[in-house]
Symmetry: C4
Amino acid sequence: MDKLREKVKEIIFGHDTKAGKLFDVILLWVILISVLIVILESIPSLHINYYRYFFYIEWIVTILFTIEYIIRVWSTKTPLRYIFSFWGIVDLLSILPTYLELINFGFHYLLAIRIFRLLRVFRILKLVRFNREAQKLLLALRGSGHKIGVFLMAVISIMVLLGTLMYVIEGGENGFTSIPQSIYWAVVTVTTVGFGDIVPQTVLGKFLSSIAMIMGYAIIAVPTGIITVELASKKSEDKVCEDCKHDNPDNANFCNQCGLKF
Amino acid sequence: MDKLREKVKEIIFGHDTKAGKLFDVILLWVILISVLIVILESIPSLHINYYRYFFYIEWIVTILFTIEYIIRVWSTKTPLRYIFSFWGIVDLLSILPTYLELINFGFHYLLAIRIFRLLRVFRILKLVRFNREAQKLLLALRGSGHKIGVFLMAVISIMVLLGTLMYVIEGGENGFTSIPQSIYWAVVTVTTVGFGDIVPQTVLGKFLSSIAMIMGYAIIAVPTGIITVELASKKSEDKVCEDCKHDNPDNANFCNQCGLKF
Amino acid sequence: MDKLREKVKEIIFGHDTKAGKLFDVILLWVILISVLIVILESIPSLHINYYRYFFYIEWIVTILFTIEYIIRVWSTKTPLRYIFSFWGIVDLLSILPTYLELINFGFHYLLAIRIFRLLRVFRILKLVRFNREAQKLLLALRGSGHKIGVFLMAVISIMVLLGTLMYVIEGGENGFTSIPQSIYWAVVTVTTVGFGDIVPQTVLGKFLSSIAMIMGYAIIAVPTGIITVELASKKSEDKVCEDCKHDNPDNANFCNQCGLKF
Amino acid sequence: MDKLREKVKEIIFGHDTKAGKLFDVILLWVILISVLIVILESIPSLHINYYRYFFYIEWIVTILFTIEYIIRVWSTKTPLRYIFSFWGIVDLLSILPTYLELINFGFHYLLAIRIFRLLRVFRILKLVRFNREAQKLLLALRGSGHKIGVFLMAVISIMVLLGTLMYVIEGGENGFTSIPQSIYWAVVTVTTVGFGDIVPQTVLGKFLSSIAMIMGYAIIAVPTGIITVELASKKSEDKVCEDCKHDNPDNANFCNQCGLKF
C-alpha cells in the first residue's frame, strides 16, 4: 500500500518519470479545456444553444479534478499541509464552485471563479524548460524589489496628489465627482491608458494634465532601467561558453551544448 | 537552353549581378505601386471616379507578376519546392485574387488579399544592407525567445484572470457582456491602449482596473530589459575597430571601414 | 529645560532612538488616516451620511498635528529656519485649511489642500531602508538631468509644432479650436495617452497624426536608454560581494550581508 | 567697413564674445515672446479682446527679426549660401507671413506658420551646455539608424497588413470605411494610443486587435534596447575620472572637474 502510494505520488507530484510526464501533459490539456469551457459558457448565444454540452463537459472535468484532488490528499504524507498550501487551495477552488452550484447556492457568478483553474497550468509549467527562464526573471524582479517599490510609491503619490488637484480644479460637473474618482482618472492618465470617459474641460485642468502625461510618459524609463540593469547583472553571472557562445548557469562545470569544460 | 535558364535564375533569384540588382529595383517599384493601388482603390470616392485606371494598372501589374512567377517556376531546378515554399505561396497569392475576380468569384473582399504583395518587399530587402541589422535583431529576439515566451504567458494569464474578474464585478449591463469581451477589455487596458469603448462603472471595478493599469504600465519594463540585455551581449561579441571605432562582425579579420587588421 | 528640549527634538526629528522610531510609526499612521479621511470625505454619499464622524476625526488629527507643529517649532534651535523650510511649510499646510474652514473662509475646496499631508509620509520614509534605493534613483535621474532636459525640450517642441500644424489643418470645427487646445491634443497623442475627446477628421490630419504617433511611440526609447545607462554606471560603482553576490555601496569595507572583507 | 562687418558677424553668428552671448539671450527672449503671441492670438476670446496688442507686438517682433535678417545677410561673406541654408529659410519664414498678411494675401492660417520661429531657439541652444548632450543623443540615434530603420519598416508593414485585414473583417459599417482609414486605426492601436473613435465590433476583429495590441505593447522593447545599447557604448567611450567619478569626453587629457591628469 505504502509502495503504491509512493508510486502514485511520484506520478502526480513528480515530473521526472515517464508516467509523471504523461500525467502532466494530460492534466494540462484537461485544465485548458475546462478554462475554455468557462470562457465560452459566458457568451450568451453559446450558453443558450449549447448549455447541455457545457454542462456535461463541466461535470466530467470536475469529477476528474475531484479524483485527482482525492488522490493528491491521499498520496501525500502530510495531507493537511497540502490542503492548506497555495496549490492545495487552488486545486480545491477548481472543483468547489461546480458542487456549490449543484446545491443551488444562488450566486451564479461563483462559476466564474473556476477560471482560477488557469493557475494550475503554472504548477505544471514549473517543471519544463520555461522554468529556468521564469526563475531568472523572478530573481531579477526580486533583486530590484526595493527600487521598484520606491518607484511605485512615488508614482502612486503623484496619482493621489494629481487626482486631488484635478478634483479641486475641475469639480463634479466635469466628471471629477469625488477624489477617488479623480485618482482613478489620474491612474488612467499617468499610465498612458487614456480611456477618455473622463477628460479635463478647464484650461488649467488641461495644462496640469499635459504635465502629468509627459511625466507619466517619461517616468516609465525608471522601472525599465532598474530591471534592465538587474537582468544584465544576472546575465553576466552566467558562464558563456568560449566555444559555442552558449549561455550556462553560473554553477555549470561543462557547457550544456558542446560539453566544453569550464 | 540550360545556360539561358541558369542566367535567368541568376537575374531573378540572385542579387549580385548588375542585371539582378536592376531586376530587384524594378520589381520593388512594381510591388510598391501595386500595393498603393490596392490601398487607394478601397477609398470609395476614388473607386467611383478612377475605377477604370485602377483596373488597367491592376491588370498590368498582375500580368507582370504572372510572367515573373512563370519564369521563376521555369528557371528553378526544383519547381515544386519553390511553389510550396513560403515565398512561392506569397508570389501565387499576389496574382491569384485578380484572376479569381475575373471569373466572378463573388467575394469582392478577396481583392484585399493582394495587400500581401507587400511581403514580397522583404524578399528583395533580404539582400541589401538592412539585412545584417535585421538579422542581428532577429537573433536577439530568438536568443531571448524563452524569456519573452514566459513573459507573454504571464501577461496573457493576467489578462484572462482580470477579464473574468471584471466580468463578475461589472456584469453585462456595463458592457462586460461575456468573458471573451471582458478579456478583450483587459487586453486593451493592460497594454495601455485604452480605447474607452468599454469602461468600468463600479467602484470595485475601477479599483481593480487601476491596479491592472499600474501593472501593465510597469510590466513593459520586463521585455525591454530582456531584449536590451540580449542586444548588448550581441553587441559585445562584435569587434570594435580600435582605430575608427567602427563596429565589425565578430568573424572579421579587417575593419571594413579603415582596413585595420585585427 | 534645554535637556528636555534636546530629548524631545531627538524623538521628533531623529529616527535612531527607540522612542524616535515609535513616534515615526505613530505619525505615519495618523498621516495615512488623515489622508484617507480627505479622500473619503469627497465622496458625496459618504459625506452626507458620515459627515459628523469625518468632522470629529479631522479635528482630532488637526489638533494632533498642531501639537506636533508647536513642539517642532519649540524644540528646534532655529525655529524660523524650520518654519520656512520645505517641510515646515508642508507641516503648516497640513493644519491651516481646517482652521481656515472654521472661520468660514468660504472656499470649501481649500480642504482638499490637506491632501498634501501625504507629502509628510516621505519625510518619515527618509529614514528607512527605502531611502538608499530612492537616493540611488535620484542620483541616476540627476546624473542624466541634462540629457533628459534635451529630450524633454525636443519632445515639447515637437508637440508645439504638431499642435499648430493640426490647428491649421483641422480647424475649429473638428475640435482644434485654438493652438493651446491643439497642443493639448498633441500632448495626449505623442505621449500615447489618446483620450479620444478630440480626434483628427481630415485625411491630412490623420496622416500627420499617424507620423506623430509612431514618433511618440518610438521616442520613449530615448529617456529609457539614458536612465538605463546611468543606472548601470551607478550599479557598476557598487561593490558586489564575491561570496554572497550581495550589492554593497562603493565605500564599503565589509559585505553588509556576510561580513566578507573587501 | 569690413572690420565692422567682421565684428557684427561675430556678435550675431558667434557665441563666444560677451556681446555675442548677450545678443543670443535677447534673441531667445524675443523668439519666445513671438511664439507665445502666435499661440495666444489663436484663442478666440483673447483674439477679440486684445487684437490691438497682439498686432503691435507682432509688428515690433517682425521688424526686429527683419533687421536681424538684413544684418545677417549683410554681415556674412556668402549671402546666398546663408539665404538658402536651413537656418536662412527658417529665418525668412519667421518674418514673411506677417508681410504677406499685410498685402491681404487672404489665407489667414498662413500666420500660424510663424510658429516655426520656435525652431530658431535651437540655433541659439546650439552653443550652450545642452549642446554636448544633444550631440551625444543624436550620435546614438544615428549610430543605431539602420536598426531603427529596420524596426520602423517592420512596424509600418505590420500596420499596413493589419489595417487591410481589419478592413476586410470589419467593413465600412463599423467605421473601417477604407484601407487608409483602417491603417490609421492600426497605427492608433499598435502604438497604444487608442483614441477609441474607431473600434472593432466583430469577434474576429476584436481577437485580431488583441494580438496586435499585445504585439505593439511588447515590440516597443526593440527600439529601446537598440538605443540603450548604443548609448551605453557611447558612455563607455567616455573617460571617467578615477578621483571624482566625473564623466569626461574621450579626448580629454584632464578631468574637467578636478583637473586630474588622465
